[in-house]
């Protein structure tokens, strides 16, 4: 390529990650996707409270017991704290440390998988008592928690995909947009859990 041809492009970072401080298109795409997903959860939880306050004076209705909190007391910290290693992984790759990226992703994956496994146990117990076909409460309970669980599962798949690419050496201090985006998504999935915890698990105990 001759010198005159090289001047056909301005001297700018040539990457989707964007210049120092600037945000890439991929980052904005993920932010807006999270906006719309957050709205989905907000609508689901609003529907939960709408049905609750329209319906029976006793909540949960139909003799269903209030949600048990023993397993939830373990699941909650496991999921919320898993944002830590994910954040650490992202910081590490920004400094170019691929080893720590792999380790952080692995820890996050194990914590997320623990959460899902415990949710499986929790479902097993709940399903013995009521199902989504029992009544509107059952439909709401399993749809909302299941939809969140689905998001955790998708997050774990993305995590695996990151790990695979991290081992293939595809991330560096300059190129790590996918890590940034999955981190953002994972924080979002964790944050949504706080709202589900308060609405589905705690609120029946707080307002009988």
């Amino acid at each position: 390529m001759s010198a005159s041809e090289q001047r056909l492009v301005p001297a700018l970072p040539r990457s989707p990650v964007g210049a120092e401080g600037g945000r890439s298109t991929g980052y904005w795409g993920m932010v807006i996707l999270i906006f719309t997903e957050a709205t989905l959860f907000a609508i689901l939880l609003t529907s939960y409270f709408y049905v609750r306050f329209q319906g029976s004076p006793v909540w949960p209705p139909d003799g269903i017991k209030k949600p048990e909190l023993a397993l939830i007391a373990i699941m909650t910290p496991v999921l919320l704290l898993s944002s830590g290693p994910m954040h650490w992984a992202e910081l590490s790759i920004k400094k170019g440390n691929v080893g720590r990226l792999r380790l952080g992703l692995l820890i996050t994956f194990l914590m997320g998988a623990t959460f899902l496994t415990l949710q499986g146990f929790e479902y097993h117990k709940s399903l013995a008592e009521f199902t989504p076909r029992t009544d509107a409460y059952g439909s709401l309970f399993f749809t909302i928690t299941g939809f969140h669980g689905l998001h955790v599962a998708v997050g774990l798949l993305m995590n695996l995909w990151l790990q695979w690419n991290a081992w293939r050496g595809r991330f560096s201090a300059e190129r790590h947009l996918a890590v940034e985006n999955v981190t953002l998504y994972w924080h979002f999935v964790d944050a949504v859990w706080v709202f589900i915890l308060v609405s589905i698990y705690l609120s029946p105990h707080i307002w009988p």
Binding site: L8, V9, I32, T36, V51, T134
Partner: protein, 627 residues
Amino acid sequence: MATTVADRLEEIWEEKPGLGSWLDTVDHKRIGIRYVYTAFAFFLAGGLEATIIRAQLARPEETLVRPEAYNQLFTMHGITMIFFFVTPMLFGFGNYFVPLMIGARDMAFPRLNAFGYWVFLFAGLFMYAGYAAGHAPNDGWFNYFPLASKQFSPDINIDFYTLGLIFLGISSTAGSINFIVTIFKLRAPGMSISRVPLFCWAILATAFSVIFALPSLTVANAMAALDRLFGFHFFDVAKGGSVILWQHLFWIFGHPDVYIIFLPAVGIVSSVVPVFSRRKLVGYVWLALATMATAIIGFGVWVHHMFAVGLPSLSLTFFSAASMLITIPSAVQIFAWLATIIGGRPVLATPFLFILGFLFLFVLGGVTGVMFAAVPFDQQITDSYFVVAHFHYVLFGGAVFPIFAGIYYWFPKMFGRMLHQGLGKLSFWLMFVGFNLTFFPMHILGLLGMPRRVYTYPAGLGWDLYNSLETIGAYILALGVLVTVGNFVWSVSMRRGLLAGPDPWGGDTLEWATDSPPPPYNFVEIPTVKSGEPLWDQPELRAMNERVIDRERTLATGHDTLGTTVLDAELESILPMPHGSFVPILAAAGLGLIFGGLIAHLEVVIGIGAALLVGSVLAWFRDQGDV
């Protein structure tokens, strides 16, 4: 030198003709034209349904169609026009013109763009497969429960509705994310937020409305599908559910959707008015603010669709006030356009005629809209033909007339040829007269008590004459639409239209700086924008494709476009753009198989679809060079 640069860009960006490139294209212009063609096909289908409806209602006790068929016809007419015509049509214009107006080489996510189109097409075919199955949706476009529950609608009609709309929602969400990021990040250097063309502002406001409104419709339809297919109880009162919940969820989406339909149309009006008034738009900032304000207030008025349901009077009062409030930004826009027209030297070309028609009809529809905000009046005429008259004035008058203005305005850019102006004017007058003859008498019929959605009516109620007039009007309107179709055939298929050249109207925005139709790379060089009306204030841009000003801006070494900052559009980075790919159509086909399998209860098909979808998503990110 300049020709060499253009040749190099041609080499880099050209998509080879053939079936392969037809299926794998990611060019926003080809995808945009596809959206327009497909949406127009749905417009003709919805129009055909309307003409059958009007034939059935032409006289009392008519027996042209059975009541069951009539239910499917008016339901599909509404679904088609709202979901499969207006929004995709405007997204098509957006796809084609947003990158051109902001001086970019494509949308921010070209493959997502292709994916959005294929999902839209497949969702439309899915919805229309209901007719083939003999069971198209039949409970009205807002599908109220308990009528739509398994108990009262046991056949699969409503499953086409719930699954089809979830399916389509994926397309709208993908498209909206793409529009927002494109307008945020891909604007030409210098196009700061106060220089963004109002059409792009309108698309931005629409896209944000979709992002926040559509989840409500998706949740509602997911609940409905779970109720109907898997025996859940969200809308089952006997099991603690609520039928009013459906109404709330539907209208929390449904009213913002009115603005999702209307705002891009407003953007077309703001594009056409200054060009044909031959002066700058009056009140650019006010128009941009009004666009955003309409989108935001639009989220606070949904209950005015439910005034007759029996909600607490406090909530009626609040929503009545909000519904009156929203007329203010609309009025701001109307007055800004009127001031522009009055202060300019209007040229009565076809696009501008359709805009004048829009102003007249939209104000009429707006006046009846204010009437609905008054609760006692609303409760009297709810579900009567007065409502049908009102929303056709705001949707047909407010969106379809601007769409036709857009067709006549932008057609030369998209196809390189002019449409026949005489035929265009004939089409306008037929549509305008036909429209008013069809829909104005509906106001009177509504006040006389004729309910909407009845398949026939007895003679002697004083309705006969109005109904006959409406049917005549509908056929005049249809003829007007067909004249435009004929105009298209005359200009493009028969190659009779005059060659347009880059800028037949003396336009002000960047799309008129490049050839008609534009080359695959849009602009030889990405310009520096110094004005809100760049082509009027920067004459050097007019010869951009012949004479390169800044060689660095040609980016002629790779398949790239420029990334700039969100507010000030300062140069930031070079964005590599993906090449054509079969992944989008495969991912969309995977989704199609999943939804098809769900309605046919074929687990194998669902499995194949899921596998195809997961495989395509993995491939999508695999061949992305930069992760």
